[in-house]
Amino acid sequence: MGDTLITIIAIFLAATLMFVFPLMSVSERTDDITQLNIQTLTTQFVDNIRTTGKFTEANYGTFIERLAATGNAYDVELEFKIQDSNPGRKPAAGTSTTKIGENLYYSEYTSQILEETRNNNGVKNLKEGDIVSVKVKNTNKTISEMLRNFFYSLSGDDTYQIAASHSGVVMSTGR
């Protein structure tokens, strides 16, 4: 009787050790590689916008497709900070004109950007000095997350396994 119980426990432990742990490890590596992949994709995407000064629907579509090809679902957040160089243009009497870089920015977010792009033949032009930032987070549960949740679970809205972000200043005015 005692032996049978031990054997059952041993089988259970062995199964955990032999299958679940390697599986967890491998699935975590997969996530690492996916992470790497989407970081590279995001950087390329943002750098392309920065050098050309253009955000195009075609490029965005390719980006989304490539993200999807990793087998996960992602939430992509775009933010463009548009430089408004007007406040600095007309200095009020008595204020210093020596300052530079006192520019203000206003932000546009994903839905605004996409809507504007759609209304403008699929292209949104940016100008030199604007700031582009893109954040990507996974929204589904990856295998490693599921396995991990089996042992201990994290709760909350912001639990994501794979995330990438990149940002930078636009380097040339898009035409």
């Binding site: 041993a10 970081q39 548009i82 243009r89 040339s172």
Partner: protein
């Protein structure tokens, strides 16, 4: 064997595999993130170089003369070097350490380009970076009794010199489509729009005469007649062999020198690209001869070439930095759209009666009191002022806008003071850059005249030579 033993053996086997695999993945991730850091650093350095070049040329009244240009390019290279060194955390004396990984830096300018690359110093036997002589976008054409060299530029300006029959000719000018442009005495019509601005008229008249001459004398030249200036890169020009399209025949309606896809423009871009590629390849190959790393020119994509060949730009190459499992090999380019070296439809802007700066097709532009300008004039400049205060001289520096005391209003012809700082950028076109374009004949005329006028006023090296 007992189950427990089996488990232990399994774990002994599988654990190192998993550990190794995770280590390998980790190294790969590190390498890739390092690569991204390097690319970002290079990007920033190239951007800084462009920024420095822009600031220097815009504040320099003589920036188009060769000596002054060399000075500005050198200053820009210094900025590149220090920015790169800063990015890599090596500064001061160690700057040279990072420069050894820069096989080339290319400045593509209006009518030619500079390559900054290492060459061997014959006295010390070591590599030193130098700015190589300016290379024009030239090509030679031989056909029948025509043997001419043509200098291309980033736009429709052309310089021709060489023999046509027994006559030696040197001529330069702008090209316009003879299909769209008609000049009849003092009457200039472009694409159905009558040009009234006097300087724009002069531009079109000159362009008409020059284009007519080019079409008459050189019209029969085909792509296949293109030859290198020297003997050493014959092979690469063989790609043009057998092409029978007439590149300099502008009576052909398909060959509009303003259209991006015209025969003239695709050939022009092909020639410029070939010239840059050949010289860059040579520069990089000579550097790698004595080095452990084989420097090679990366293949730039067509879309990248397209950007580079329609704007003044800087391309930076960085190769050979070891990083874990790989060796870094990357490049970065930044185009400069705000300069005074060339005038395009995109580098002019318009002020209206409301005191706003617009693009020509902005829906918010009030159609009264519109004046066309070169856009860079609205950028801030730094001025230095020396004043006598209580017997001693004090110098103050400040950023300010340009003003002109006797600005000739092109629409009215009167002279008046003009303050560039009094105008604000339009939110629709200049700030957010997204709008529904409104194109009317009045606006097209305005654009055509402004571009023509500014091109007429532009300083070209060959103006000086009176050719």
């Amino acid at each position: 064997m007992r189950l427990q033993n089996l488990t232990v053996i399994f774990i002994i086997i599988i654990l190192p595999v998993i550990l190794l695999f995770s280590m390998y993945t980790k190294t790969q991730i590190d390498v890739l993130s390092l690569q991204e850091t390097y690319t970002a650093t290079l990007n920033v350095a190239v951007y800084d170089a462009v920024k420095a070049f822009k600031t220097n040329t815009l504040n320099d009244l003589t920036s188009k003369s060769a000596q002054s240009m060399i000075r500005d390019v050198n200053a820009s290279i210094n900025t590149f070097a220090s920015s790169l060194a800063l990015g890599f955390g090596v500064d001061g004396q160690n700057q040279d350490y990072i420069m050894q990984y820069i096989p080339a830096l290319v400045y593509t300018l209006y009518d030619g380009y500079y390559i900054y690359s290492p060459v061997i110093n014959q006295t010390t036997g070591e590599y030193e970076h130098i700015l190589k002589p300016y290379i024009y976008y030239t090509v030679r054409y031989q056909r029948g009794n025509i043997d001419v060299v043509i200098n291309y530029t980033l736009d429709n300006y052309l310089t021709v010199y060489g023999n046509i029959g027994s006559e030696y000719v040197t001529k330069a000018g702008y090209l316009e489509s003879l299909d769209l442009l008609t000049v009849n005495g003092d009457n200039v019509v472009y694409d159905g729009i009558t040009i009234t601005d006097s300087e724009a008229k002069e531009y079109y008249k000159n362009a008409y005469n020059f284009t007519q001459w080019v079409t008459d004398e050189l019209g029969e030249i085909t792509e296949g007649d293109a030859k290198p200036i020297g003997d050493w890169d014959q092979e690469s020009y063989s790609q043009f062999a057998g092409h029978t399209q007439q590149i300099l025949n502008f009576e052909n309606a398909e060959n509009n020198p303003r259209e991006d896809n015209s025969i003239f423009n695709s050939h022009r871009k092909g020639i410029i690209k070939l010239s840059i590629q050949n010289n860059l390849n040579a520069a990089m190959a000579s550097y790698s001869r004595n080095s452990s790393y084989n420097f090679r020119m990366p293949v730039l994509q067509d879309t990248e070439w397209d950007q580079i060949l329609s704007n003044i730009s800087v391309i930076g190459f960085m190769q050979g930095i070891p990083m874990g499992l790989k060796v870094y090999n990357g490049y970065s380019y930044v185009v400069n759209t705000m300069n005074k070296e060339m005038v395009t439809e995109n580098t002019v802007c318009f002020t209206d009666a409301n005191g706003k700066i617009h693009k020509y097709d902005c829906p918010q532009m009030v159609e009264s009191g519109i004046i066309g300008h070169k856009q860079y004039l609205f950028e801030k400049i730094q001025v230095e002022r020396t004043e006598e205060v209580n017997g001693s001289y004090e110098t103050t520096r400040e950023w300010t806008y340009r003003t002109q005391s006797d600005y000739q209003n092109p629409t009215t012809g009167t002279y008046e003071p003009f303050d560039y700082g009094n105008y604000e950028l339009c939110y629709y076109c200049m700030v957010s850059n997204n709008y529904e374009p409104v194109i009317t004949n009045t606006r097209r005329k305005l654009l055509l005249e402004t571009v023509a006028r500014e091109k007429y006023r532009l300083y070209n090296k060959s103006n000086e030579l009176n050719i």
